[in-house]
Amino acid sequence: MTKLRMRQAVVHALADELECDPTVILLGEDIGAAGGAFKATEGLQERFGERRVRDTPISEMGFLGASVGAAATGLRPVVEMMFVEFIGVALDQLTTQAASFRYLSRGSYAMPLTLRAAVGGGLGFGCQHSQILDHWFRGTPGIHVVMPSTPQAAYGLLRAAIRSDDPVVVLEHKALYGERGEVELGDAGIIPLGRAATVTTGTDVTIVGLGRTVHTAVAAAAGANWTADIIDLQTIKPWDRACVLESVSKTRRLVTVEENSAPAGWGADIVDTVVGELWGNLSAPPHRITAPHIPIPYAQSLEDRYIPNAIYVHEQVTTLLDTGRRPAPWWEGRV
């Protein structure tokens, strides 16, 4: 085990895949000598050369499209999108082209494309550089979506993503890049796609988090008068039904915690599934904790309030357990 920051874990994952598979290449803006806007590719160009670690012009449609073509013809491109919002100028190549390439070619072409993107709020980047936007990808068949919560998950999920023969979107929360954790490197550290991880076990409620909200949930549970199965979803699509259902079968209560607003957040599909599968076996309505449906404000006090924090999650869960009813969100009456 090695103690690493999440950004370093990403570097390690990329280096290990570059090392063991000569078809892996990296593309992105300023990922070479500069090591990436979040320094998650630091040192890789020096080590693997300019052919395999390529700085691109500011042409997201162009280099994402080129990655689609490269993936179809024998490379395993890993694309860095500096901020997930930038995919808004290139979405077609992911959700229309990459996603259906295998299908339309009846499996002749594989699509081992990995798209890494920095996501999430809390750092004052403003409303156009702080979203999660997993909903842009979640509705498209043929694509997998993962989001690590720890350096280990960043390492393990990214390696699995690169090895997958399908397009995988890896959403890295920018507030976690600096966080440290022990990482098991090497093949043993790889985390298969599609599997959630149970972070803590408890009896009263199942809390499902993703990326940063896993930590929020853990902090919310500390010192609470309830105990929780806290599940780190890890893969948003396809999410791990077996893990979540098994836990909620036991706890009879579900709370999802996400940094998205409600209308297209990932929690809804989980609530829906749990309601369907465990109808009659639930002691409280499954509950989603989200952010309000407003652009992410810049000023610190506002942004801090926007993102669900541990105190809020603690209150929400406690009320749910106490009353058996869903508590109102903090912004009720404001919208």
């Binding site: 990655s67 073509g69 009846r106 068949p141 699509k237």
Partner: protein
């Protein structure tokens, strides 16, 4: 040798190329009828009049090279070697189609001859071609990629980004713009400030050629030049082939927006006629009849053949995780 590779090799002679153009024309002529009879759904886009470009290029490049082409892809699919059964089967949604009937007219492909699923989104295939070129460059093969697009597509961002990227990275790619003067119902001059599109290449420091797309020998000569440049590591070339589609944009377009006489002018320079000049007329008439017969047989085969099984819809959605469950 597979049937597709066999068909591809037939393009090595003037006669073989001429016959392929005849075949393409005949296949497309069948499509209108198949559409009227309810066998073709959605939309379908004929390339009649543009055959010399597809066959000319296919006769020069290798089967390990990659082509990205548009929804107007019947000509390229047949030229590259896909059989009439597989093309018509796909258009009619049958299991024998080159995409097993799940793709349709806009998504023809066959990896064994280098044709990626044709692109239904304008411009989308162009950066993807760069990717195939990037693979070749990275792995050190001398394969190349050909990106085919239309005049209307020239105004979409993906193409600008691709030209720049291909130039900076010196990718082995040939850009081919089939300038047939119209993008859907819009004449080029209403959407684009210049008559020639090749003028844009200079802005990316890319060499360009403006050619007569109706003369297959001209197409071949310029393809040889561009392909040689690409294979030898000297980067991209833009070929603007002036051409014309005889039909409307798609099966529902009567093309009333065209000025009187324009079609006749272009038909007077029909690529099949032009190519026939070099051939003996007795030979070609017999061979033409055989091709037409084969195409009729292909149509009959397709119409006798079954639609895909329901299970086909669930296959190849993803690799390992099943249909993305």
């Amino acid at each position: 040798m597979s049937k597709q590779l066999q068909r591809r090799s037939e393009l090595s002679t003037d006669l073989g190329r001429w016959l392929r153009m005849v075949e393409i024309r005949a296949v497309e002529e069948c499509i209108q009828g198949l559409y009227t009879d309810g066998h073709v759904r959605g939309s379908t886009h004929l390339a009649n009049g543009q055959e010399a470009i597809a066959v000319g290029i296919a006769s020069i490049i290798r089967t390990t090279d990659t082509v990205t082409c548009t929804y107007r892809g019947h000509a390229f699919a047949l030229a590259l070697g896909i059989s009439p059964e597989a093309v018509l089967g796909e258009i009619c949604g049958r299991a024998i189609g080159c995409a097993g009937g799940v793709g349709g007219s806009m998504h023809l492909s066959d990896r064994t001859v280098g044709l990626m699923p044709t692109f239904a989104i304008v411009g989308a295939g162009v950066p993807v071609a760069l990717g195939a070129a990037l693979t070749a460059q990275t792995l050190g093969t001398d394969d190349i990629a050909v990106a085919v697009f239309g005049d209307g597509a020239s105004n979409i961002g993906a193409i600008h980004e691709s030209m720049n990227l291909a130039s900076v990275w010196k990718l082995p790619v040939v850009f081919v713009v089939e300038n047939n003067l119209y993008g859907e119902y819009s004449a080029l001059r209403t959407t684009t400030p210049t008559d020639d599109l090749a003028v844009r290449a200079a802005g990316y420091d890319i060499p360009s050629l403006i050619i007569d797309g109706q003369d297959i020998d001209v197409v071949r000569a310029s393809t040889i030049e561009a392909v040689a440049r690409a294979r030898s590591g000297q980067g991209p070339t833009l070929i603007e082939a002036k051409t014309y589609r005889y039909s409307g944009h798609s099966r529902s377009d009567p093309a009333t927006y065209r000025p009187d006489g324009e079609l006749a002018l272009w038909m007077a320079r029909d690529p099949i006629d032009i190519a026939s000049k070099a051939l003996s007329s007795t030979v070609i008439e017999a061979r033409r009849a055989a091709v037409l017969r084969d195409v009729q047989e292909a149509v009959a085969t397709v119409l006798r053949s079954p639609p895909p099984e329901l299970s086909a819809a669930f296959e190849h959605v993803t690799s390992t995780l099943g249909p993305d469950a």
